[in-house]
Amino acid sequence: MTWQGWAEIAFTLSVTIALGWPLGLYMARVWTGQKTWLDPVAHPIERGFYALCGVKPDEGQGWLGYASAFLMFSGAGFLLLYLILRVQGVLPLNPLHFAGMSPHLAFNTAISFVTNTNWQSYAGESTLSNLSQMAGLTVQNFASAAAGIAVAAALARAFAANRGEKLGNFWADLTRVTLYILLPISLVLAFVLLAQGIPQTLAASVDAKTLEGAKQTLVVGPVASQEIIKQLGTNGGGFFNANSAHPFENPNAWSNLIEEIVMNALAFGVFIAFGVVAFARKEARALVAAAAIIVSSAAALIYVNETLPTPALVHAQHVVATPNMEGKEVRFGAPSSSVWTAMTTGASDGGVNAMHESYTPLGGGIALFLIKLGEMTPGGVGSGLYGMVVMAIIAVFVAGLMVGRTPEYLGKKVEAREVKFAVLATLILPTALLGFAAIAAVLPEALKGLSANGPHGLTEILYAYGSAVGNNGSAFAGLTANAPWWDTTLGIAMGLGRFAYAIPVLAMAGSIAAKPKLAPTAGTLPTNGLQFVLLLLGVILILGGLQYFPPLALGPIVEHFQMLSANR
């Protein structure tokens, strides 16, 4: 560990969290339909969208209408993407003549990108045409991110409402978030990334003759335009197999810093926008604090572990045994890789700049733990916020039980119905994760895909289902996932993690919106101070920790002690 390493980690996280404020204040304007300086360009396009779709943007939807629109939009996206991936072989912009995907791979990939997971059972550079990358995947990078932010906006309006019924209009939220936030930021930052060296061309490959006379085929493509929205929308699906470890996705320290900041700043921005719209700025700050504490501690712990000596280096003669450089790029080293890993697993992004499978047991284990906490630190854009609000509701409920008083959150009484929906949402993650993992751990068809035995193999299974159901998308990539069992079950897990979470949240929002907005009284638990942050942290860690402690103990924790004894 070096002081530069610690400085880099601290700097990256502070800049990211600080940028949440301006982004969030702007986003609140977009959610509430106020004027922005982009109006002259974006407003006519926005109006065109509504006219062609035949929607009235001011017509509010109840939770059921909002949820139906969200489901229909995701369903349409899934069908279109599935179709493109299956028939890419006969579509244009396919100079390397890639065939269409198999049914199970296309199913997995389509659901993966529609649910903002971006789990990749394939290697982009040897599977996908430029058309599939652009008109297929880039589109869902925007659409799934915008849909997630829309659901968060609906939840914010529910808390602002006083005996209201409407949560806003899904189509308007979707359109405005895309045209006023995602697209303009991507357009500008795509060029910043380009200037660092990320390619952007419609060509697919270039042949080089090396100085020693060998042939090397360089795969290029429209990478920059996809790279920026991959990070901004907490999608994480790489153009290339190696994701942001690939020098064409992430060429240097600056591109790395920008990609890191972008993958968490907007998610923090959603927290701030929620605070503005729900009239709860201080309470939103408490949510930001809880998320920031967890992701920062995780980054520090991963850094400590990645600078531990590893047995293979310790026992080789004359080798400097640290840092753990297997799976890491020289330009990033341990600090850039560690902070990235905490941010990508805390944010449900899932892009990687180093290979998690080759991390030390606890380095990779903390990444897995962050995913299992439920992707809210700060989580995916939109989905992180509603995940955190669900936790806050459970926290006030727990506090209410202690003092025997009906709890309130942000001026709304939290009663049986809301708590049931909140708990229903939080149950999806452990049910799907542990359920599928338990079957996979004994099913020969599933075990064929593993690249390791013992605790590391168990971690591979846990990581795969955690990543899928948490809509993260990063992997212990030794797992050979492109097989019917893994493609199908991971696809189902991704769908459950997205929709079986968001629908109860919207139902909860509907019930919250209908309640009267109460002024706080002397008996109201303050939800904006240190006390509440600690309570919230306790709930998050106990829910995450207790549910998963047994499998974590058998996976990363046991492997850590095996490693320590092997180092002797």
Binding site: T12, C53, T138, A143, L218, S225
Partner: protein, 196 residues
């Protein structure tokens, strides 16, 4: 029906998203990039005097001859540095295959020099296409390169120094030496006697 009323907006919206974010947006970025930043947009390609592309400044390559700076081991493709197959080894820290590979590579490197081997010289990168080595790894190879080319150690060291990048702002990222830039500079200063 509640769901059916959303059918038209869902389908039309998906088409609009495809046109705006999947066609117009990437094509606008491509068009502007090809005019304003053609070197980066086409992959930071390096060419020799005859215009032949010798590689990308950003993508690592295999170098085996004693007169060249050697890259890290690579897990991309069967022979390493296959830019159509970016990949890490994905071997866990306790994997015996990892220990065997590192032991084998360390034996070869120990035969070459008695200096300690930096970790990056025996580990594969995340992409398998790492264009860089650490300054310590590069420094360890100076005597071999100098001997093969009949150059002074200091001259090789100076070339490596010019291809070394320091962390941004002094603390973001790690110092690194670009292997291809060093090898191009070496060939320019003192071509190898026998080029195949």
């Amino acid at each position: 029906m509640n769901m059916l009323q959303h059918l038209r907006p869902a389908l039309v919206m998906m088409v609009l998203f495809t046109v705006v974010t999947g066609v117009v947006y990437p094509l606008v970025v491509t068009g502007v990039a090809q005019v304003a930043l053609p070197y980066q947009a086409n992959g930071s390609l390096l060419k020799d005097a005859h215009g032949q592309v010798v590689g990308s400044a950003l993508i690592g390559q295999n170098f085996a001859g004693p007169g060249y700076l050697h890259p890290r081991p690579s897990a991309a493709g069967t022979n390493g540095y296959d830019a159509t197959n970016s990949s890490g080894s994905n071997l866990g820290p306790m994997d015996k295959k990892l220990a065997d590979r590192i032991n084998g590579d360390a034996k070869t490197l120990n035969a070459e020099s008695s200096a300690p081997i930096p970790a990056d010289a025996v580990t594969t990168s995340g992409s398998g296409l790492d264009p860089d080595v650490t300054p310590a790894n590069a420094a360890r190879q100076i005597p071999r390169i100098a001997k093969a080319r009949g150059m002074a150690n200091d001259a090789v060291m100076a070339i490596i120094g010019r291809a070394t990048e320091q962390p941004a702002l002094g603390f973001i990222g790690q110092p690194h030496v670009n292997v291809l830039l060093v090898n191009r500079a070496l060939d320019a200063v003192r071509p190898l006697p026998h080029r195949s």
